[in-house]
């Protein structure tokens, strides 16, 4: 593994994101999102004051729910970016022939994959931190409110975005761009619906439904990571009473974090192996 080759690929990928206005578009859309969230928060606060606050607990619940709703939107936008940004970085360059001149240089093919992976983890991670940071900052500045467990929650959301970046990059070593996108979103959808089946199973006590959800989480751990993040970012009483849609009835185990880390490692190894043998 050559560090300089990986860093060259990272730099070029970031340069491409900047030059093709991907970063600018993300920034503009992110600012629009934060503006809208700020306006929403303003109305929520006005409503709380208009109704007459019946104690700090009720105010805290409402603001917690609204801030989590903001982070849920951030999570969704990050998931979209994590799949879409790298979806053609390998498959597109293989199809166009750009990679022929790159791979014929004295660098290992794994350095190309690792460089691109690292660059997109940085881009998507920065996007997540920008949006999530903006949501949390607005909650702090406008309502003097702070979510609990933010550090753990954001770390889990970041882990979820890495899972999806890795899935997208890995698919690109073997699949065409469109097929890769269909598979990545298909798996995300599977995890999403699997999570709801699991929640329904938890609510009704149906063990079979819960098992289906668990299997879906193992196939794609993204939604479980979000649920775990949401669980950590609300007070225990709110979570235990299932007061909001972000309070899972069946809280994913910490083992899901280890599973996700292993999932990333395996996907990355599959990508490295797939690309090393790929005809260019």
């Amino acid at each position: 593994m050559t560090t300089s080759a990986i860093l060259t690929i990272v730099e070029m990928t970031l340069h491409e994101a900047a030059r093709r206005r991907i970063l600018l578009a993300s920034l503009v859309c992110g600012c629009a999102f934060l503006l809208l969230f700020g306006i929403g928060q303003h109305f929520v606060l006005a409503d709380i004051e208009h109704q007459g606050a019946k104690g700090m607990l009720r105010r805290g619940f409402i603001l917690n729910f609204f801030t989590l709703a903001g982070l849920y939107s951030v999570n969704f936008l990050t998931v979209m970016s994590a799949v879409l940004l790298p979806v053609d970085t390998l498959s597109g360059e293989i199809a166009s022939g750009v990679l022929q001149t790159v791979a014929s240089k004295p660098i290992a093919r794994r350095d190309i994959v690792l460089g691109k992976w690292l660059a997109y983890v940085l881009v998507v991670g920065s996007y997540l931190m920008l949006l999530a940071g903006g949501v949390l900052l607005e909650a702090r500045l406008l309502a003097d409110f702070q979510l609990p467990g933010v550090g753990r929650g954001l770390a889990l959301m970041f882990l979820e975005s890495i899972v999806l970046v890795t899935l997208s990059i890995s698919g690109g070593t073997r699949l065409s761009t469109v097929t890769n996108g269909v598979v990545a979103f298909g798996l995300y959808g599977l995890a999403f619906i699997g999570s709801w089946v699991e929640q329904v199973g938890g609510f009704t006590g149906n063990v079979g439904a819960r098992d289906v959800g668990t299997v879906a989480s193992l196939i794609m751990p993204s939604e479980s990571l979000w649920q775990l993040a949401a669980h950590h970012m609300q007070p225990p009483v709110m979570s235990q009473l299932n007061l909001t849609p972000f309070s899972p009835l069946s809280v994913p185990s910490i083992a899901m974090v280890y599973w996700a880390v292993g999932y990333i490692v395996v996907l990355l190894l599959v990508a490295l192996r797939g690309f090393s043998k790929r005809p260019l």
Binding site: R20, Q100, S104, P106, A108, P279
Partner: protein
């Protein structure tokens, strides 16, 4: 240690049921400009990709600069311009060279100096600050050529380097190849433009269905002439005599053609015709061209249509 820069032995590539390269064996000597010729679908680009490690061979083996094909270290001393040179079009010409240079492990002032020298050499200095998406096809081809030479390679692979170039661009590439040869750099040239190959190569091989079917040293047969005859009343005995004076004798009615090893054969041909009693109307001798040799080696079944 091999005395060849490149050698392949029985290289083979199969895609499913299709055999793209059957049995490629060739060798390239240091300092040589080597032409790799063949019709469409002869497996030339597939062969090139196997040599450069972009494709894994299904069989056979080879050495590039003394290392097994695909070796990363060997690629440090090799340059490559693909047939369809694609590029990140948001880069400027100068950025393209800097990116490729860094992949070769170059940096700092050395990379800057080489980039500027090569941009000047391929006549792109004035356009170097512009994004590649605004370049013409010929400009892109020249940018790709500059990128292939950044590492001052021992061996350069050029796959159709003059396709898309105007006559001035072709001249520039021809001069560049001559400069490379003068510097001792070997060139592996894959081109359909036989005139270009004839003007630049020392040796060519003809590839048919993934096999080398003929090797030809250019310049070694400059005296050869392609002779065309138009005569009435050519007898079978005369045809036998004419066939013995050269090679590739073909007769079609009053017309015949053959290749001879020098001008000295022409009076003998004229005398044989006249002495046989046939009426000679036309006797034309032209230097043997690579195109005619190509057609003779490949056979008419390779011609489209």
């Amino acid at each position: 240690m091999s005395s060849y820069l490149l050698e392949t032995h029985g290289l083979r590539k199969r895609f499913g049921d299709k055999l793209a390269v059957a049995d490629l064996s060739l060798a390239l000597r240091p300092g040589e400009v080597f032409g790799f010729l063949g019709p469409n679908g002869a497996g030339k680009t597939t062969s090139l990709k196997m040599i450069l490690g972009l494709l894994e061979p299904s069989g056979g083996h080879g050495l590039l600069l003394g290392k097994p094909l695909g070796d990363q270290g060997a690629r440090a001393k090799v340059g490559f311009l693909p047939e369809h040179f694609r590029f990140p079009d948001w880069l400027t010409g100068r950025e393209l060279l800097h990116f490729h240079g860094r992949l070769y492990g170059l940096g700092g002032s050395l990379l800057r100096e080489r980039s500027e020298a090569l941009l000047a050499r391929v006549d792109l200095l004035d356009a170097a600050h512009r994004p590649l998406k605004g370049y013409s096809k010929g400009m892109l081809q020249r940018a790709g050529l500059a990128a292939a030479l950044l590492n001052e390679p021992q061996l350069v692979f050029l796959d159709e380097p003059t396709s898309g170039l105007d006559p001035l661009g072709r001249l520039l590439v021809r001069d560049l190849i001559r400069d490379l040869r003068a510097q001792g750099t070997s060139v592996f040239l894959n081109s359909h433009l036989l005139g270009e190959v004839e003007a630049t190569c020392d040796r060519v091989v003809f590839v048919k269905q993934g096999r080398v079917v003929h090797e030809h040293v250019l310049g070694a047969h400059e005296a050869h002439r392609d002779v065309r005859i138009r005569a009435h009343g050519m007898s079978d005995a005369l045809c036998v005599t004419l066939a013995s004076l050269g090679e590739g004798f073909v007769r079609d009615g009053d017309r015949a053609s053959l290749r001879v090893d020098g001008d000295s054969r022409l009076p003998q041909i004229a005398a044989a015709i006249v002495n046989s009693g046939a009426a000679l109307f036309e006797l034309d001798a032209a230097p043997a061209s690579l195109e005619q040799l190509f057609l003779a080696v490949m056979g008419t079944e390779q011609r489209p249509g």
